[in-house]
């Protein structure tokens, strides 16, 4: 049998768990959103503005921008974005847990990777375009 490193098998387990959790959450919140329950952004506004750039689209509405959806989880579309967040954080979660099973040189490299991914999450808040 092929030898799989401990850090890899732990990473794979976490990815599977977190990814499916994100998909289930997305499916449930999407059903609520598409039947019209607690929409923060109405479909009419989306249709009106989906041809515009993000700057124009969000000119006078910003309740979902810059991760603000995390503070408005009573809305179904905020929960959809929470599910997207969970799916996007999946590799980071897997890598953080894999560090504990990695050899020293890979502990260092994976730590650098974790740091980069954390910067990737936070940088849009500090470097406005």
């Amino acid at each position: 049998m092929a030898k799989v490193e401990e850090m890899d098998s732990l990473f794979a387990r976490i990815v599977k768990l977190s990814y499916y959790a994100g998909l289930v959450l997305m499916f449930i919140s999407a059903v609520l959103y598409f039947i019209g329950i607690n929409q923060s952004l109405s479909p009419h506004i989306i249709i009106e503005r989906w041809g515009e750039s993000t700057t124009i689209f969000w000119k006078d509405i910003d309740n979902l921008l810059n991760y603000k959806y995390l503070k408005n989880l009573q809305y179904s579309d905020s929960v959809i974005l929470l599910a997207v967040t969970l799916i996007t954080l999946t590799p980071l979660a897997g890598i953080i847990l894999a560090i504990s099973r990695a050899k020293l040189v890979y502990k260092i490299l994976l730590l650098i990777l974790v740091l980069e991914l954390i910067i990737a999450v936070l940088q849009p808040l500090y470097f406005k375009i």
Partner: protein, 291 residues
């Protein structure tokens, strides 16, 4: 509202079909999704790229646990490449959003560049060969120090195949470029990374494809935040696309042994060629068409 439901259903069916045929044709979902939706839909390219990067991420995540557990992909090989590609992917996605928001006709520059990029993708697909088991003669110093090797059980040979990777110093800058392109256009860029992993780093083709998916999952997760935080991820696009792609990829995995990939590959290349022409045309008309 009819328009709203039309696009929701269309995107689900479209990504469902892409999820089935793109892996059979040997390309990722993002590189088919982004140019075609850009050519045919009313959505601004910001939202298409935002969803494109998430489509690439989810299609990669759905295969990663299986390939990693089989030894076909490992964090060992991917980590040094991801460290470089992540930085450029973040820069690429920020640059892409900046161009389409700061310049008055910025979105047309992106569409035009996307069309040109698609011609390059098609050239790479047509010209690059695939080596099933490349021979690695000399291992560079960094690859040796990092012990970049692994093994997997190959059913067609009924044996465990061992592999080693080399030329990390050449691959790193190339992955820097790939990361930037992936972030800027919302693509996974497996079309570029597989040949480098296979032909430059000497990984067997099955390992190269699986390693590319693992790399895309990390890389796309870094690039996606710019799009998420800027509001470039709209529910109407992201939900049907992710669900369609996930379901389609599942069916593709079942169909892979029963269909003729060559016919599908030719069909997908043909569609991508049309999308490339349309994007170049749309970009030119937007920039110089007197609008």
């Amino acid at each position: 509202m009819v328009l709203y439901f039309f696009w929701t259903v269309f995107l689900f069916l479209f990504t469902f079909v892409i999820g089935i045929i793109a892996p059979l044709a040997g390309v990722g979902g993002g590189v088919v999704f982004v140019p075609l939706i850009t050519a045919f839909s009313p959505f601004n390219i910001d939202y298409i790229r935002g969803v494109g990067i998430l489509v690439a991420l989810t299609s990669a995540l759905s295969s990663v646990p299986t390939t990693v557990n089989r030894g076909l992909a490992s964090l060992k090989v991917v980590t040094p490449l991801a460290i470089v590609a992540n930085i450029t992917a973040i820069l690429g996605s920020s640059f892409g959003i900046m161009v389409s928001n700061v310049f008055p006709k910025g979105k047309y520059y992106i569409i035009l560049a996307l069309g040109v990029l698609l011609f390059i993708v098609l050239a790479v697909i047509a010209l690059s060969r695939r080596v099933e088991f490349p021979e690695v003669k000399k291992i560079d110093l960094i690859s040796k120090k990092l012990d970049l090797r692994g093994s997997w059980y190959e059913p067609s040979l009924d044996e465990v195949v061992e592999y080693r990777s080399t030329n990390l110093h050449i691959a790193l800058p190339l992955f820097g470029i790939i990361g930037f392109i992936a972030g800027m256009f919302g693509l996974g860029a497996g079309w570029a990374s597989v040949p480098i992993l296979n032909l430059v780093m000497g990984l067997p083709i099955r390992v190269a494809v699986s390693t590319s998916m693992l790399l895309i999952s990390i890389n796309a997760s870094a690039a996606a935040w710019v799009y998420i935080s800027r509001g470039a991820v709209l529910s109407i696009l992201v939900v049907p696309s992710i669900l369609g792609m996930t379901l389609g990829s599942r069916i593709s995995a079942i169909l892979v042994l029963r269909v003729r990939p060559r016919t599908i590959r030719m069909a997908v290349i043909g569609i991508m060629f049309i999308a490339a022409i349309l994007n170049v045309y749309k970009g030119f008309i937007g920039l110089y068409g007197g609008g």
